[in-house]
Symmetry: C2
Subunit: 371 residues, 2 copies
């Protein structure tokens, strides 16, 4: 340890916590040997008792447990692990962003999925957070593999790993689960982006729109096949609408990007009557841009997004909802299965559904804004 224990605030005032044992106020630094001594047993027995080995007599176990409690003892995960026992499992959570609602929400779900049904009150699994947002961070993560040798499993959240990254990941030597992203090549839980996209665009088509724009995003780190864009294209093709490349603009993620993109679309000789945005955050920017241009949503232009972001309701945004929290929960469950040594669970695709709100209407419609 390079850490100076004295760096903490003055003389610790924890004398009133416990002081059964010899050491006054067990300071958490008591060793297993202290416990054993206090309980009047050997190191081995103490260890066995604490690990619920069946071979120790109930009475002895009690004594050890009491001693441990008295000394305020906690096993050293490092030593425990070194000596072969699994201690509490550790999982790497690899996530590109955290300020976007989707990721944060998914992680909240992941946490409950990982902890779920742990009866002994102990938090089930330690989560090591790896933020790989920018290209540099991402490269560093896959190159240096900082999770190496320190996790028993990993979950990759919301982004696609390419061939070589995948190979690097396998070097971790642990099970990997993917959540909220493409469903290759690990056990994963996602939604069907293709279908979600179709739900959005088909909705516009059903309303009668034919000239439909798309606001796609171009995050340098979030590459991979953009299924939502593909859905857009096939939906239009299926509807017999000719392809018009001008109608697809690629913008940075977020409201600003959405506004910018919508600006571009509005600047076209023949602007679209409806727009499908990559996500609600983008859609929100788009709506705003429409309004700034003196037009109305949905009267002049319909906008549909994806996610059902908490603020989507406020913006009265029609969107395709996806179960974000649940994706996390399910992923957490998968990780637990894998940690328990189970077979890789089958990937799951969770359903999405269209949420009708006030940002879409038939082309040229009027007076439907308040519906």
């Amino acid at each position: 340890m390079m850490i100076d224990p004295e760096a903490l605030a003055g003389p610790s005032r924890l004398s009133d916590v416990v002081h059964h044992g010899g050491r006054a106020g067990g300071d958490g630094r008591a060793g297993l040997d202290d416990v054993a001594r206090l309980a009047g047993v050997s190191l081995s027995t103490a260890s066995r008792a604490l690990n619920n080995h069946p071979q120790v007599a109930a009475a002895t176990r009690e004594r050890v447990l009491a001693a441990a409690a008295g000394l305020d003892y906690v096993v050293s995960p490092d030593a425990s692990r070194l000596a072969g026992r699994s201690s509490r499992a550790r999982v790497a959570v690899v996530v590109p962003h955290l300020s976007r609602w989707f990721f944060g929400r998914l992680l909240e779900g992941l946490e409950v999925g990982l902890r779920d049904g742990d009866p002994d009150g102990g938090a089930g699994v330690d989560q090591l957070l790896f933020l790989v947002g920018d290209v540099a961070g991402r490269r560093a993560f896959f190159e240096d593999l900082p999770a190496r040798r320190r996790v028993d499993a990993a979950v990759v959240v919301g982004f696609e790993v390419d061939e070589v990254e995948q190979r690097r990941l396998e070097l971790l030597g642990v099970s990997i689960v993917s959540a909220g992203g493409p469903r290759e090549p690990f056990p994963s839980v996602t939604v069907d982006d293709l279908r979600a996209g179709r739900q959005a665009v088909d909705h516009l088509v059903h309303l009668g729109h034919r000239r439909i724009g798309m606001l796609a995003t171009a995050d340098p780190a979030d590459r991979g096949p953009d299924l939502r864009s593909r859905a857009y294209r096939t939906a239009l093709t299926d509807a017999g609408v000719p392809d018009d490349p001008d109608l697809v603009v690629r913008v940075p993620f977020g409201p600003a990007g959405g506004a910018e993109g919508m600006g571009r679309l509005l600047g076209l000789r023949r602007p679209p009557t409806a727009v499908f945005a990559y996500s609600d955050e983008v859609a929100a920017g788009a709506v705003r841009a429409v309004q700034r241009a003196g037009l109305r949503v949905p009267d002049d232009i319909s906008v549909v997004g994806i996610d059902d972001h908490p603020l989507a309701g406020l913006l009265d945004l029609t969107t395709v909802a996806q179960p974000v929290h649940e994706q996390g929960v399910v992923a957490g469950g998968m990780v637990r299965v894998l940690l328990a040594g189970g077979d890789p669970p089958p990937s799951q695709v969770l359903p999405t559904h269209l949420v009708l709100r006030g940002s879409t209407a038939p082309p040229g419609a009027a007076g439907r804004a308040e519906t």
Copy 2:
């Protein structure tokens, strides 16, 4: 390890990675002894070389490093730690929510603060994530202290710890930094909520409002003195406006809460002409409620929030911006100082500033919406 290594996808295809050493395709499970053998030195020298001890000859170091690289070796953090060395430091990140923009954004900052200026390419610090959102989780965290013995420092993000929680935290025996929350009792980085509140409310007062409502939040887990509410009260007192308890409503955090609260305010015999919301998310809901009621913002009612949420611009929301990302960065820096054994750095209070947008205007104003 209870983890079955075979649980991973079939026969790993990593044979093409490296295979300098004796072991074909170093599988990351090579030990320091392997490295030493390959480099033709003793265990101790190998260790020293890898740890950049000055006492090893440059040539030897090179040889060891090469061997390590060849074998694709990584030290076992557990063993390393056990043996006394700090290995990579670990810090607990304790955070109540993750789906709220503020927290996610702050954590992004924290990550860069923790990693900052680490020239050797290694990710500076391991972050252990602890989500303590609900009361149960919070209780569990402080009671079981799952971070015990596994972190070298902790940062508490965005919430206040009470007396007994603080005492529990000290049991961790490590330095603690608080970020984005109340500034007691640890080294902390925050904004002055009192001042931020004043900026918001004073703004309304300066515009000429006298009947000003407040949308406070009541998260069961986020207790502690609500400085923003206090700021509201003193601002009004200073302005000579009599106290009217009806004008303060306490609602759950979020847009829904904001809408609900605004509904209550609008239902008053004499509704306010302006409202100060605890945060932008709440303010957004409030704005929406106003519009749903057939009134206009800011013409009929002004609304001001706090945060400068990314979507605030879209909603044209006047707000008091706070440097969220930066709070994280600074906190990360503090942690690093503490980890390095430095003295507890002084707490920092970062500045906030009013961002004027279209959701506020003098009472009874009209036609300023587009300004």
